[in-house]
Symmetry: C2
Subunit: 312 residues, 2 copies
């Protein structure tokens, strides 16, 4: 099937075409350029992107499932992109979580895809924008991007999403951990899941204290949930809608999306340059430079100069 | 003080010179190039790098402290680089953990520095090699790099370290989480901390099952510890030494360090290209391209072409 057919079918909402395009994007298909061109042609991107992140064990997948249900009840077409740092090695373990998503497996208004974040230059930043574009083309009005972890992945998700939800749960480590993970800065909405368990109130109190210390126009609301029972779904959706309204009022939505487009262009340009490196030098040239650096015959800056010199 | 003085003092083991150089490296000092050149001049890098990673709450800092003590008892000069995803915003919370490190604060054979992993292009990959070089120049024979988190940060630490230690602890989430974090692939040694708590045996059993499934020349040993009491320190050091011996025997040590040098050269070259972008185009050009992409007037690949065209 050629790309224009595939894109037409994805626009028509055919799940297999959507799945295939996302796989092509993820695997860095040589057709990526053409796919992107066709996805973009004459049709501005529209879908709202909500990032969900948190440590392993807080109930991200269950919460994502709850939100899918809530948005479906409100008549929205929903995409889910689960970005997982698992390697091919451990990818199988994912299934345990994805099982809960099978509630939605037969709903034509829901597209669910897992993507690995490893092995690609720049992690998420490289393939995810194209995957969002595929889901947008398929008519998704809301896209939930779920990612594990603290640190880099969280920062990346925040730069991809219009609204970033940070999930916490009681019993995941003491209070200092919340601060340590550096999440205050990226959270637009806090969800404290497993709110029926001991310690949930303490987590909420601590978050309240912390968010009160931060001077920002938008103070992230803190929403308790019990995701496996669907408790708190309406409140989370309410908080998300309020944040979207805030983004629109303040002009921040446009700024975030503009910054995202900049990042994407730059990432593509850098990837192109990187492959130009590979062509110019092959592995041997860089190998030889690395050996000289290890032998203290050359410092890495001068080695980089030599690498760049051939680019002109 | 000029760079050659500062490097001379660092080589002499003066902590303030070491601290100052690492700060300069971390902040992307304009003198970075000269610093690196002087650090590299005529002296191959020697220090052994051990990465420690794991989720928040497993006891990374305590374990790092235990290993510092163990290596000091064996007469080694030790460097610690704590790479934290915290932002300036939340950086203060770090102090809670670092307190335990103060045992070593007055030992001239130990250098401890925290680095933020945010805000730099490529995270760890950019500044950490230079920071390792500073610690190596100061005579550190062992450098412990401690990092929070799962996902990208872990992959990065594995590419920096000769040996990667993955820390786990009971009660941090169910078994599937171990697989999910994608850690099997990067772990050279597993340490199960808090081994005196309920559930430690289950974590060890699960790890055993998982590592048995993997076909690799080196099967990661699993070492139980109770870090705050120093229990298991000798066993961890033993496992680390065995792994180092394996790396040397198999030639893998040379390969890892060569790959690291390649990565470093490439990262510097890409950073240079990126700043060349900034010079050529300024923000305005990229802004205009981003706007056109948002308006669906241009796809991001063609925008990247335009950005690159001016580079020639």
């Amino acid at each position: 099937m050629d790309v224009s057919d595939l894109v037409a079918r994805a626009r028509d909402g055919q799940p297999r075409a959507v799945a295939r395009l996302i796989s092509m994007v993820e695997n860095g298909s040589p057709l990526l350029r053409e796919i992107t061109a066709r996805l973009c042609a004459g049709r501005p991107y529209r879908a709202r992107v909500i990032g969900l992140t948190g440590s392993p064990g807080v109930g991200k997948s269950t919460s994502t499932g709850m939100l899918v249900r809530a948005f479906r009840e409100r008549g929205r077409k929903v995409g889910v992109l689960a970005v997982d740092p698992s390697s091919p090695f451990t990818g199988g373990a994912l299934l345990g979580d994805r099982v809960r998503m099978q509630d939605h497996a037969t709903d034509p208004g829901v597209f669910i895809r897992s993507m690995a974040s490893r092995g690609h230059l720049g992690g998420l930043s490289w393939a995810a924008p194209q995957a969002l574009r595929v889901l947008d083309a398929a008519g998704c009005e809301v896209i939930l991007v779920e990612t594990v972890g603290v640190g880099q992945a969280e920062v990346e998700i925040a730069s991809l999403a219009d609204t970033t939800v940070v999930l916490l749960a009681p019993g995941m480590g003491d209070g200092v951990q919340v601060a340590k993970a550096g999440i205050l800065e990226i959270a637009d909405v806090f969800v404290v899941n497993k709110a029926d368990r001991d310690g949930a109130q303490a987590v909420i109190r601590e978050l309240r204290t912390m968010t009160a210390l931060v001077e920002r126009v938008w103070r992230p609301p803190i929403v308790p949930t019990v995701a496996y029972r669907g408790e708190g779904a309406a409140e989370v959706v309410g908080a998300l809608d309020e944040h979207l309204a805030h983004l629109e009022r303040s002009g921040e939505l446009g700024r975030r999306r503009h910054a995202r487009a900049r990042d994407e262009i730059e990432a593509i340009a850098l990837t192109a340059l990187r492959s130009r490196f590979a062509h110019l030098h092959g592995d041997q040239r860089l190998d030889a430079l690395a050996t000289r650096v290890l032998d203290a015959d050359l410092d890495p800056y001068r080695a980089a100069d030599e690498l760049l010199a051939a680019l002109g």
